[in-house]
Structure formats: C-alpha cells, structure tokens
C-alpha cells in the first residue's frame, strides 16, 4: 500500500470489509528502498526520493549519530556512563524519526533512541543524565516535545496516543511519532495503543525499528506474522515496510505517514528492517546467541556507507565536505566527553522534591532525617 496524504475511508473499511479495502492497508511485499546497499538509486513509484539537500543534511546527522554511539560506548568503558543501549547500525532510523517531525509534533522514544532524541535538538548531556545515573530523565519534555525515554516496553505508545488524542480534541496541529522495537510488539500495550489510535482516529505514527533481536531473542521467536507491519491491518490502519538502513526511504515513508496523519488520515504503522550491530547494552554478551558471521553479513548494508556512496555519486559530497562533517561530529563527541568527565553530584535532598506537588508530612519527616545524616557526614569530614 501507499501512505498518501489525505483521509482514508476508514468507515468504508469497517463497513464492507471488502478485499480491496483490506489490501489497501497491507504493506508492500518487500521493504521500500530508494537507495541500494551499493549506493545506487532505486525507484519506487509510490515514494519519491528526498532531495539531495535533504539527504546531505540527513547524512550529516548520520555521521554525528554514529560518532555519538561510538563515544557513548567509550564512555561506558571509562566508567563515565553506567550503561548505553547503542543504536549502532540503526542510525538511519534515528535520524529519519527526528527529521520528519515539525517543532509542534511529539517524539516518544525508547531507551535505544538517544540519537533520535539528540537529533530532535535535545542537549546530549541532558539525554545522558539517565545513563550516567544522575536522574531518571534529564531534559524538559516540553522544550523539544520529546517524551522521557521509556524503559518499560510499549508503555509509551499509549502515552503517544493520549497526547495525540488531546491534541485532536484541542484542535492542535500535532502529529506524534511513537517508537518501539520488534520485541515490544509482543506486549499488550502495543496492541492496546494501536487499537486505541485507530478507534479514536488520532494522528500517531507507530514506528517499529525491527533490529531482529529483543536482547537475545530473535524475531522468529517473537512473532510469526508475515511482517510486523502486517499487524496494522488488524487494527484498520495502513502498514508499511521500509529498509531501515536506507535513510532516503525512511524519510520518504515516515514523512508520508506523518503528513497523512497531519491531514486527518489517522494513524499508521511503519516497520523498518534494520539490525542491532552491537550487543543489547554493554552489559550484554551477544556472542551467546548470534554468530559473528551473521553480524558481518549486515556490515555491507551499513546506513552511512550507502548514503555516502549515493551522495558522492551525485557529486554532493566530497572529501572536504566529509572532513567538515567528521569535524562537526567530533565537536559533539568532545562536548559529551567534557561534560561527562565532570561529576554532576546530584543533591540527595532532591529525592523528595517532585514526588508530589506539595510534600506530604511523611516526606517532610523523611527529608529531615536525610538532612540530619548529610549534616553529620559533612561535620565528620
């Protein structure tokens, strides 16, 4: 099917249950691809390829995103971050998720989507507050309209539906992009979120990054659906599959879904086929459940390589430009290093500040207990 701008005949789908109406919701046979692994352009009559300028901007963000992933991994090894779930190999999904949104839209990320959150404009150090262990979230969700990164799987999808429903009731021009992984599609909240979104016809685009693994469990043990995108038809919304390592296809497919939602067309489900090149987190040992050969097979499909090849073939990228992009990415990485090399020293008294708007008498007593302990500690130094 094609995600096109405009209202789909939802009621008709429901009433007839006709074969054509159902077919219209089904994803394409193979994932949409606009740039092949070799960097060569591929055509898809349904989805136009983004402009060279848009792709060059996306490539700059890919380079930065890859550098952020590498830097964060290094910071874990140095003990400056407690943990980092890397999106190495999934940077095209990360960059596209941020790029298709307008400022008034919302992004609902998972714990693996730090690069998407940063690409949306959130300060990297604020994003890493969670992973360095200073607080559970480090940014103001309203500043860039990015929800706190969710650790429980699929729960944030319902929050996305709620934000979109409220926006619709208030007449706001807001589209919500809700991210999850392949494992999360097994959760009940995934089902409830898609069903609610469809029933209330709200502007949410559900974006599954199918990276083949839920920690150690491969997709075949997670679902035997024809594809995860096929699940959409059960809810009465269109599903689409896209090559998750092709930033051009991602921008086009996600962009169409977002525009369709913005125009009142309702929710859609997009599944990106990608691969988690590194372990679940630094605490994981991926050699216990997958072969080096399997991982190696994905190296030629790297999202950066193909975007670079394509842009170079168009003459939009040369060595000088590339060096500048690498230097920009290095600036971001250096800021991460510098920021994380300073201990933040969170205030223990903050424990009591935001549990309730007005502190209960019990929390006041407990805060006094801790204050006493801190003062004794201070005095004994």
């Amino acid at each position: 099917m094609t995600i096109s701008t405009g209202r789909t005949p939802q009621a008709a789908v429901h009433a007839d249950n006709g074969a054509d109406a159902v077919t219209a919701l089904l994803p394409s046979e193979v994932p949409v691809r606009l740039i092949g692994p070799d960097g060569a352009a591929q055509e898809d009559s349904r989805y136009p390829r983004p402009s060279g300028e848009a792709l060059l901007d996306a490539y700059a963000r890919l380079v930065s995103g890859r550098r952020i992933n590498d830097q964060a991994n290094a910071l874990v090894r140095q003990g400056r971050l407690a943990v980092y779930p890397s999106s190495h190999g999934q940077e095209a999904c990360q960059v596209a998720a941020a790029a298709v949104l307008e400022p008034q839209d919302w992004l609902f990320p998972t714990y693996r989507d730090s690069v998407a959150v940063m690409s949306r404009g959130v300060d990297p150090l604020q994003v890493l507050t969670l992973l360095r262990g200073d607080w559970h979230s480090g940014y103001d969700p309203y500043e860039h309209r990015v929800a706190p990164q969710a650790t429980p799987l699929a729960t944030q999808l319902l929050h996305a539906v709620g934000v979109a429903h409220a926006a619709k009731l208030k007449g706001e021009d807001t589209v919500v992009l809700a991210l999850c992984g392949d494992g999360a599609t097994s959760e009940g909240d995934f089902h409830e979120a898609l069903n609610f979104a469809a029933v209330f016809h709200v502007p949410v685009v559900f974006f599954i990054q199918n990276n083949e693994y839920a920690i150690s469990v491969p997709l075949k043990n997670q679902s035997v659906a024809p594809s995860l995108a096929h699940k959409a038809v059960g809810y009465g919304m269109p599903g689409e599959r896209v090559d998750g390592n092709d930033v051009a296809a991602l921008l086009s497919v996600l962009g169409a879904a977002v525009e369709r939602a913005r125009a009142g067309g309702g929710p859609a489900l997009v599944e990106a086929h990608t691969y988690r090149m590194q372990a679940h987190t630094n605490a994981d040992d991926a050699t216990r459940y997958r072969s080096a050969e399997e991982v190696q097979n994905w190296v030629p499909r790297d999202p950066l390589t193909r975007a670079r090849s394509y842009l170079r073939s168009l003459g939009l990228l040369d060595d000088r430009r590339e060096e500048a992009l690498v230097a920009d990415a290095e600036t971001v990485a250096a800021a991460m290093r510098n920021g994380l090399n300073t201990d933040a020293d969170p205030d223990p008294m903050a424990l009591f500040e935001h549990v309730y708007t007005a502190r209960t008498t019990q929390l006041r007593e407990q805060a006094e207990l801790l204050r006493g302990e801190l003062e004794r500690d201070e005095a004994s130094r």
């Binding site: 939802q10 607080w135 559970h136 979230s137 103001d140 969700p141 309203y142 929800a147 706190p148 429980p152 729960t155 999808l157 319902l158 929050h159 996305a160 539906v161 709620g162 934000v163 979109a164 429903h165 409220a166 926006a167 619709k168 009731l169 208030k170 007449g171 807001t174 009940g188 909240d189 409830e192 979120a193 069903n195 609610f196 029933v199 209330f200 016809h201 009142g264 903050a350 500040e353 935001h354 549990v355 309730y356 708007t357 209960t360 008498t361 019990q362």
Partner: protein, 376 residues
Amino acid sequence: MASTSTDIRVQTQEMPESGPETLTFAKALNAALADEMAADPTVVVFGEDVGPLGGVFRITDGLTARFGADRCFDTPLAESGIMGMAVGMAMNGLRPVVEMQFDAFAYPAFEQVVSHVAKMSNRTRGKVKLPLVIRIPYAGGIGGVEHHCDSSEAYYAHTPGLTVVAPATVADAYTLLRDAVRLNDPVVFLEPKKLYWSKETVDLPGLRRAADEALRTGGRVSGGVGTAAVARAGTDATLVAYGPSVSTALAAAAAAEAEGRSLEVIDLRSIVPYDDATVDASVRRTGRAVVIAEAPGFASVASEIAARISERCFHSLAAPVLRVTGFDVPYPAPKLEHWFLPGVDRILDAVDQLQWEEPAPLGSAPAGTGFSGEWR
C-alpha cells in the same frame, strides 16, 4: 466519538438550587464530575461504558449528553489502554478522569499506574505533572462475585507518587472528588461500592459554592484531600477507619455507647497523604486504638496505621494497637462475605481486648488475630 476536531467549550453551569437535599453517594459523585466539567473545559471523562450508559454504577450518568462525546466517552475494553492514554492526555494539557469499572479490573492498568502515573513527576523533576483521577468502584459488602469486591488500596498506597482517597460520606464524595480533579498530582479515588446507594441530607449548593470558590481562588477547599475527619467524638478509645469501614466503625461506636464506652471514630478520607496529626491527637487523648479495614490485614494500610500509631503515640497508649481487618484470604463468595468483613461484633470484641483493667497476660492476643501454631 466524532472524528472531527472539536473545540472544548465551557458549558454553562446549571444554577444550583438552594438548601439541604437528600442525595445518594452516587449522585454526589455524579454532581462533582458534572460541576468540574462545567467549571473547567480541560476535564475529560472516559472509560468502559461511561458514555451513553452512564457507567455500570451510573456515576457518569448524563455527562455525554450534557458535555458531548468529546468530553465523556467510551473506550475500547482495555484498562492499560485507558490508563496509558490518560497519561498522554494529561501530558498534553487535559485533566482526565478515568473509570476502572471494578477494583479487580483495574489490575491490567497496574503497570501504567505504578511505572508512569506515579513516577512521571519525579522522573521529569516536576516538568511533567499528571493531573488525572483514577476512579475505582471498590471494596465489598454488595454480594458481588469474584473480582468485584477487592480492597486494593494497599497496592496504590504503597506506591510513592500516588494520592489515594476513599470517601465515606455523601458530602465527602462530592468535595473530595472535586478536590481530586483539581490536584496537579494523580489521584486514585476509591469509591466504596456499598455506599453508592446510601443517602444523606447534604447542603449540595453550599458544598458547590465552597468548591467553586476554591477553584476560583486557586486555594484548597476545606475538608479536601489530605485531611482526616473526626466522624464521632469520644473519649475512651479511637477507631480509625476509611471508606467502607467508617459506617461500620460508627455503628460499633453507637453500640459501645449503649455499653457505656465512648469511642471516637476517625474517618481518614485520604489514605495518602495520611493525616498523622488528627489520628495521633485522638489516640494520645483516648490512649487506645483499633484500626479497621476490609482489606486482608497482612502488609496492609491498616498495618501501616497501627505501626505509625505505635511508633508515635507509644507513651500515651494503655494497650497495643489492634487491627480488625479482612482475613488473609481471597475475597469470599457472596454467601461467606459476612464472615470475612469486619463487623460491629468483631470491632467491639477488639475494643474489649484493649486492657481496660489489668494488663492482659502474655500470649492472650484476641481470637482471630493471633498465630494458630500450625507452623511451629
């Protein structure tokens, strides 16, 4: 639900009649919801069967007709979905009031409640407030079948970030629900099912004026969330109760009076925040306390209250603090619930155990509250 975008409009409030009137607990809740929706266009009500039907207990009766299907609507039958959507709607400027159809049917929403509703403010250092109300018809005494009578307050009270309210009177049902909607923190609002049809003569226009005034001034209504009430004054011992157990405690106090004992009854109204001051002042004065609740006693709210009284009022106590609670068994079938629920006799038996003359010898704990020895 209409699929077109619709402005949420302020509805004209019906002019209240003046003077006291006889009102059911259910109607008081209904009036509170209607008044909040009339006063604040961001208040939305949703859940299962709350639309045209008006809820299985009719608490949302007439709200869809009066305020439209954008303001009061039915959802698909999925409690986690209801709760998660409420989180998002609250994030985006609305004040959702959701109904969980029955206490035990709220459990599918538990992850959303514990992991997000309760934690969002703390997680975001106060940037994201979730001003939402989770209404739960709760507790037993109505002859309900399994899964319709749970006293689930401990699960919520144990979770930091949640405010937990359980009204026991018609007037409090109105005032506490309006106050709960006004709070900027999430509230679990426990409605004792057995009280839905109870009637009292209340000055609803007066209560409405007080709540409207608080809303207008941004202040708190008197008798709002967080303050316990002395439901009956007494001098000899304190009965601490909340929600469905308050009427039982009052009946016990009336019976005790006939026997020459003056029992004070504290109606907590809010489990969280817990009003230590009112409870402690009473117990320090009477020197004796019995805590009453329907929920199984082990690791319960009643246990927390008993522990707090013991810690804070130890030197005023003439006897150990006792608990009269449901047994530590699953809620029984209708024909057996009478034996499970704390009743007047069991409360009076506990009061009798409060060492009125000589200190009781060791090992003579009241029947039913001690250890049977089977595990020794």
